[in-house]
Symmetry: C2
Subunit: 197 residues, 2 copies
């Protein structure tokens, strides 16, 4: 996770950033159901009313702090254009894995666990992961069945997060990132550009 | 789900079967956290004490009713021997999908949702899915890195359950089973017998 950025920005954005970082830490530790607005505010050194003021409540803060993927769809599209299409699967898995691993897997575990008790989290995940990442990616490639391919990609990447972090299935959980990239990337590549029969 | 079997078996097994079927229905409807021993007993038309008597409590009943895969590892091994190894991925995905779809996906959604609040469910899933199905299967094939391949298979199949049932990502969620088999099977086959780099 990036450190808190300082300077240059207006105070209001600082407040949001501090709350988001506190929320991310508390949601990761306690899970969605266990975390409270009061705990998050205490971690941020602010009054709980600030969470309602800036985010409108716990659900929206969770979406902002935990479900936001740490890259923009535009960056994904850029990476498609930046390199050979046939290495797209590899670049994609490597990028996502680096982000997830750097948070120790806790962020993805919090996301997956939130699905049990938070339908808004399910909806937000669907929008963030499917509508903003996989679907534009598949559409950019101008392949047939882009929507179906996007959901197949989502199934593999969500399953990877589940197996590596939330379920901690060994030896996948402790495998070197490049070993995982090499193992998974060709399957993702097939979902994106291969023959699905 | 199969109908309640009758006759031939001793009364004690009937009691267990009735409780397991009631539990499966209630866990599927309410989720692990929401279901109570009292609700399950009421559904079965029995006293709640019977659940403690026969299963020792809610956790163990959940394991028995929901986490048990409806096929035995020995049957999987048999299916490997029964047909060409290169069609193993296809047979496997088709078999599992038929079982999951026939329960309307509710059973797998209940399993996935239970992970958030029940560490015993995580452990049981690990044992049922990984230790009793994928690992023996990979070992039977005498491929290198059997344990790693088994976890890759688990990642794809758990991700499929998550995407198709719990998250209901369209168009994967409503896709014809054979379309899903054709799309997923080659990827599972690669994890089982292919070159992982």
């Amino acid at each position: 996770m990036p450190g808190r950025r300082r300077g240059r920005r207006p105070a209001s954005e600082d407040t949001r950033t501090v709350l988001i970082e506190a929320a991310r830490a508390v949601f990761t530790e306690q899970g969605y159901a266990g975390a409270t607005v009061r705990q998050i505010a205490a971690r941020a050194g602010m009054d709980p009313s600030m969470i309602n003021h800036w985010f409108g409540g716990k659900d929206a803060l969770f979406t902002e702090a935990v479900l936001q993927l740490p890259f923009r769809p535009a960056d994904i599209a850029a990476s498609v254009l930046d390199g050979p299409v046939e290495e797209l699967g590899e670049r994609f898995v490597r990028t996502v894995l680096r982000v997830w691993d750097s948070a120790g897997g806790g962020q993805m575990t919090a996301v997956l666990r939130s699905f049990a008790s938070n339908n808004e989290a399910v909806q937000a995940f669907r929008e963030q992961m499917l509508d903003k990442v996989f679907l534009p990616l598949a559409e950019r490639l101008q392949v047939e069945d882009a929507a179906f391919r996007a959901t197949l990609c989502a199934s593999q990447m969500a399953g990877l997060a589940l197996a590596r972090y939330a379920l901690a299935l060994e030896p996948l959980a402790s495998a070197d990132p490049e070993t995982v990239v090499t193992a998974i990337a060709p399957n993702l590549q097939r979902y994106l550009t291969g023959d699905l029969g």
